[in-house]
Symmetry: C2
Subunit: 226 residues, 2 copies
């Protein structure tokens, strides 16, 4: 048997099975008027740091739940739990991305009468998570500017499929060779409709614009018709 | 049919087929007395930058070939080609890692009478490449310290399987909250035999120790018995 052909066939089945479960998850979020977002980025881009900074600013008016995807540890979930937000850890046990079935299994753990926003932090990986719909309303990329301005062109799939990108670690801009204009032009060339936020989770600059935008997204999701 | 069971079965077949081809590649490198290394790291860790800085220091005494793994672009290969080193680009077309078959296909492109060291730069990804043996003598990790000191514990598989780790972007240490002692302790807890190099590709600090070590590895490979 041709192993390549079998691999392609199984991958297609996997994705279509993932998509079916993703639609079930999406209907669940819609039913409970909960905006679900899928946060994707490389290891160390600052996904968890962004959540740590975002939660206190959002919590006054929005009820939040968090799903933390990780390969082995619960380090990220521990960092989120101190903010007294309901958080569930998913360990993929080596797997390089979350899938919709993993997410569906933990949904019963949350109180859906009191969740306006579900933040799903994916495994640290800029490649594989792009292919797996979890049932989210949209994807958000976190990209550390220290990774370099060539990254959008090198990893276009995820930029094409995201609604917003948070360019993090702006406090390090002057100490690196990154060309922010090139980076932003490349992002917009791939996806002209994407929202771009320049943020430093370390010194807090730029966070308010991101938080205001996300708050509006939660509200407009609640007001939108099914 | 149970799709999970099929997935596991196909993954096992894939890995074992990959391992068989990896052994063929390994025999090829051995026959030609060429040390092959598999360089792995997150997007933006500085894999290509490390090569750019390493090549001029090595080229005086070592003949080098480079295989550049990338998802879509030839940006990295273009950066390497200016050093007048034979370089072949492999585009995975969306794939998140190189495999041994992709590598085997480009091997005929090199002059094996004049290649002492084959550097294979993998796709930017700290997860998936860890599972796929390419036939290399050993793996080298490039980790940007800006990614944070929790990364070794969160991505242990690759640290367990590597012979050396280059901790890059040391010039940014004072501008971040990274705890280098914690990071190094975590790395050594996972793999007590790993070589650790602290390097700044930007200002050149620490490069000489890495280059000297790699030069010795090339020599001892050539002198080692089959």
């Amino acid at each position: 048997m041709d192993s390549n052909r079998r691999e392609i066939e199984v991958m297609a089945n996997l994705l279509s099975s993932n998509d079916r479960q993703a639609e079930v998850n999406r209907a669940h979020f819609r039913k409970h008027n909960c905006l679900a977002i899928n946060v994707i980025g490389s290891p160390g881009a600052g996904k968890t740091s962004l959540l740590e900074k975002t939660l206190p600013l959002l919590l006054m008016e929005i009820h939040i739940g968090v799903i933390e995807g990780d390969i082995f540890t619960s380090k990220d979930a521990d960092r989120i739990a101190v903010h007294e937000v309901p958080v569930i850890q998913i360990n993929t046990g080596g797997g390089c991305h979350l899938d919709s079935k993993m997410v569906s299994k933990v949904l019963p753990e949350f109180n859906w009468q009191a969740t306006d926003l579900m933040i799903i932090e994916n495994v640290g990986n800029l490649v594989c998570p792009a292919d797996f719909d979890l049932g989210e309303a949209f994807k958000v990329i976190v990209l550390s500017i220290v990774e370099g301005d060539d990254k959008p062109a090198k990893y276009p799939v995820i930029f094409r499929n995201a609604k917003a990108v948070v360019l993090n670690k702006m406090d390090l801009e002057t100490f690196t060779d990154v060309n922010m204009e090139n980076m932003k032009q490349d992002i917009l060339a791939i996806n002209p409709d994407i929202q771009i936020f320049e943020v430093s989770c370390r010194n807090g600059k730029g966070l308010q614009a991101w938080v205001s935008w996300l708050t509006e997204e939660v509200k407009s999701y609640r007001e939108s018709k099914v």
